[in-house]
Symmetry: C2
Subunit: 222 residues, 2 copies
């Protein structure tokens, strides 16, 4: 309750990582600098180096924080349902933090939740009849599919102010609209759908459906 504590609420790995996460969400991942973050926390840049070996370590901490929120679904025994549930769990965890999602790839096997989801995916793909190598590759593909879906949502729009985001959108639509309909008939016809996503949930469903349908199509057993 002391004023000092109120302004500077006891640094720790998680406190720092959480503040960095907020910063990444609101202003983009490139706004997360050691010096900016330290200022945000009312502390010297060097203070952060007590809790993180390096900036790379700090960013890894952000990814870990995202994986902390991943809930491991119960297995049903039905492999299609299980792989779908694993993918959705990963997407749900990363969706609030699209700017950090790309960093999750490198941390997946270093985090208990990441390992649990990977274990689940591998087991499920084995059950589906895949050999070790395709199973491993398809499991990693699932992770990357989740990441690219999450980061594609706003594409490059996340982490920039709302007005700038809109200007960016309109510019993109104008650019497609200016294309020659003779040369790019399909592109012009799909201009709206290419630039604006009315329902993100539907978008993620499609991404998951695509992956599951692909795995089903490649599954050897059956």
């Amino acid at each position: 309750m002391s004023p000092k504590t109120a302004e500077r609420p006891a640094l720790s790995r998680n406190v720092v990582a959480d503040r960095a996460l907020e910063l990444a969400d609101s202003e983009g991942i490139e706004a997360v600098t050691v010096r900016r973050l330290a200022a945000e926390l009312g502390v010297t840049p060097m203070a952060l180096y007590w809790h993180f070996r390096t900036k790379e370590d700090l960013l890894a901490g952000l990814a870990d924080r995202v994986l902390d929120d991943a809930e491991i679904p119960d297995p049903t025994g039905e492999w299609q349902a299980d792989i779908r549930a694993a993918l959705l769990a990963l997407i749900a965890a990363m969706r609030p933090h699209p700017q950090v999602a790309p960093l999750v790839a490198q941390r997946i096997l270093h985090h208990p939740n990441g390992r649990a989801l990977t274990e689940r995916a591998l087991r499920t793909l084995s059950d589906a009849g895949f050999d070790k190598e395709p199973a491993a590759h398809l499991a990693m593909q699932a992770l990357r599919a989740a990441i690219s879906a999450v980061t594609a949502d706003q594409v490059d729009d996340s982490g920039m102010p709302a007005e700038e985001r809109e200007a960016h959108l309109r510019q993109k639509q104008a650019m497609i609209g200016a294309l020659s309909p003779q040369q790019y008939p399909a592109l012009v016809a799909h201009a709206a759908a290419m630039t604006y996503c009315p329902d993100p949930d539907e978008f993620f469903q499609l991404a998951v459906d695509l992956y599951v349908a692909g795995v089903r199509g490649l599954a050897p057993s059956r």
Copy 2:
């Protein structure tokens, strides 16, 4: 033939971008800095600003250079073959430059080859019976699938010296090997396949097969 020309071979957008591309391939995208690149070209950092408005513009130039190499395949009329060919063309162009591949996403509609491939994908997906919105989303998914496949190949290994790359690999294998086989039986069993890819071509084939199988599984007509 003058010695001056030999050392400083006439700057231009393409000359600068190509040197930057080499730098990204050999030392990683983060080695591409304005100052480093200028030094590499035997020129003042500010010289680059004559040819590029900003560093962002320079990086866009790299992505454009990658797309320059994309060959647009002839349509066959068979939509599965066509979508496969488009994906393979994109992968073939990006494979030599995994460090630059992520930048291609934002340039795809600004480059003639990117537009041609997108047009082809949209047309093909329309032929397959998809509505505008799913067709648009699936086309972008193809692009992202290509990018994540290309960048996954070496994962984080590309752009670092060969010895460090090997050390990194061995460390990763050891880390999985150290896991409890009771807790992570599938993970331990798949350790080799998760960390080492004996045949990249096979890997890319699987990625393409997965996408095509997924689209086939979701196609409404049929």
